[in-house]
Symmetry: C2
Subunit: 334 residues, 2 copies
């Protein structure tokens, strides 16, 4: 069996039509007829080999939704015809300390959906069903696809770092990740502050759940939040004044990175010690967190705001992401 | 009433005999006849005005043990004749969010025992009994005095950051704080690794409870701990290769600073994200943690290793601390 999709032959080029021979369907595998696939910034980083882990030809896409059309002999938690999703992670060893603890996303032997394997910018995919997730009926495929990477990436730290309804949460950056983080923190019951360098995003940030909007380029606005926040989630790639954000934390507060700032974070040690503060980071989420997040999103009507383009226009869609013009997530549709 | 002690007239000078008129004994206050006072590195920082918070004449000393000889009308949890201790903190507002939550050490209006007040290098002190702690009988005054600052400083993060018996803990620096951190982490049930640049401290580090000793200047020894530690406590003031220590952490591990490294900590964001790791800091401890720590130290026979000098030799004792020759804590005795 051959699968058709769009791949890039070498770093930084445009995607081209591509066809590959699918691996045989293993006992744990399912074959999914892809209906939707979100475009994540990580796809751009992979296309450009920014992280020096890319393998070409590279067929991106790891916010996949589709229907199961075939299943291996040992698959019994999903069934043919079911609507399912696939995210960044395609496998883990399932036997190391992290996997045993349910933290399979932290497994050292985990593999990515589109590194060394072909991803979701395609008509279908064969992949390990143990990293395939049922999509709750109440979520539309278009709005749910981005939950499989952007959504879980912002949800997992809220879970792991014990964000509670009584807390005051901040979200830095109102993009693909940030607009979901605003919705999740609001649904968690938090008082939510959005930080952005784009004042024109205020109304929309509030529509996503922010109680407050701060133009982070305005020191006097920043000062209004000094010492007030329990948890700040940074979703941006830019190098910001992190010590300034530390000053917005309450004692015991936590500044958590899900966006990888380009330069090392520099923090005066006293700004950690004085208020018993933390800085932290978080990558995607475990399978357990993924199921929890999808159910939570369905219950609270959390949806990615998306722009849809046909899969055939993948390069145009990627360009919108590169130009930072996606509001807020591009989703390709077959 | 006048109190005699030893104070410094301006930054970096030697201490001289000093006498001051004690404040009237307030309703919540006790007067303590000081028998022992430990010397903390913070005292040196205060003497030298390193933190630009010193007020002169400055009478240092905040690891105080003595007997209550007078008590104000409202003191009813301590009694005259009782052996008690005083640490870094002399007061808090007792009404802010942090105080209400039991985190009085994080109160913004907290005051220090020897900043704007006269401390423990003296014959006695009058201070708020609500920040005075009963010393369990099983602890000797000489060995317990350093618990009141060094001890609580290393104990509090173990409590707050949820160090558990199953964990593998590292302690950077085998000095006044570090030698107590080794004892506490060992008594917590952890597997304990000591990190030091002084290979001659190996035997003693092990006597304090370390299972393993790593010469941190030896990359091959450092490599043996890669990815193995849940919690690392840094007790040093030096600027070390913090990214190297991050690599010793397991997923979800935490590198916690109780020693204030001189330069800002620099951490690549990916080293936080990949393993969902944290860096953090911690200052002294709450009153609740202080009582818990003292009881725990008594139960587990945790004691500061001390060298005693008479209070009259305060300058000689301070010089030993400056020269990093105290093994491991100098205690002045009246």
């Amino acid at each position: 069996m051959h699968i058709k999709g769009y791949a890039v032959r070498q770093a930084k080029l445009s995607l081209e039509k591509f066809e590959y021979k699918a691996e045989e369907l293993g006992a744990w595998d399912v074959e999914i007829a892809i209906t939707h696939c979100g475009i994540c910034h990580s796809d751009i980083h992979l296309i450009d080999d920014d992280w020096h882990i890319s393998q070409y030809p590279l067929l991106p896409g790891h916010e996949i939704i589709g229907q199961i059309v075939a299943a291996g002999a040992r698959v019994n938690h999903l069934h043919i015809g079911q609507r399912v999703g696939v995210g960044w992670q395609r496998s883990a060893c399932l036997k190391c300390e992290q996997c045993l603890a349910g933290d399979d996303n932290l497994c050292e032997e985990s593999h990515a959906t589109c590194v060394g394997h072909y991803g979701g910018f395609a008509e279908s995919i064969r992949t390990d069903s143990r990293f395939v997730f049922a999509i709750p009926d109440r979520l539309s495929s278009e709005n749910a696809a981005p939950l499989l990477c952007a959504g879980i990436t912002v949800y997992s730290p809220l879970k792991h770092f014990h964000v509670r309804p009584s807390m005051k949460a901040g979200v830095i950056g109102i993009g693909g990740l940030g607009h979901l983080a605003l919705q999740f923190t609001r649904a968690f019951g938090c008082e939510v502050t959005a930080f952005s360098t784009s004042p024109d995003k205020e109304a929309e940030a509030k529509s996503f759940g922010a109680h407050h909007f701060i133009n982070s380029r305005d020191p006097s606005q920043m000062q209004t939040a000094a010492g007030k926040l329990d948890f700040i989630l940074s979703t941006v790639f830019a190098d910001l004044d992190w010590t300034g954000y530390m000053n917005l934390l309450k004692p015991r507060g936590n500044l958590c990175f899900v966006g990888a700032a380009a330069s090392p974070v520099q923090i005066p040690v006293f700004s950690l010690i004085t208020g018993q503060k933390s800085i932290s980071g978080s990558p995607i989420g475990s399978r357990s967190a993924m199921n929890e997040m999808l159910e939570f999103a369905a219950r609270h009507n959390i949806k990615a705001k998306t722009e849809v383009l046909p899969m055939t226009e993948v390069n145009r869609a990627i360009q919108k992401v590169r130009d930072n013009k996606a509001r807020y997530r591009m989703v390709l549709v077959n």
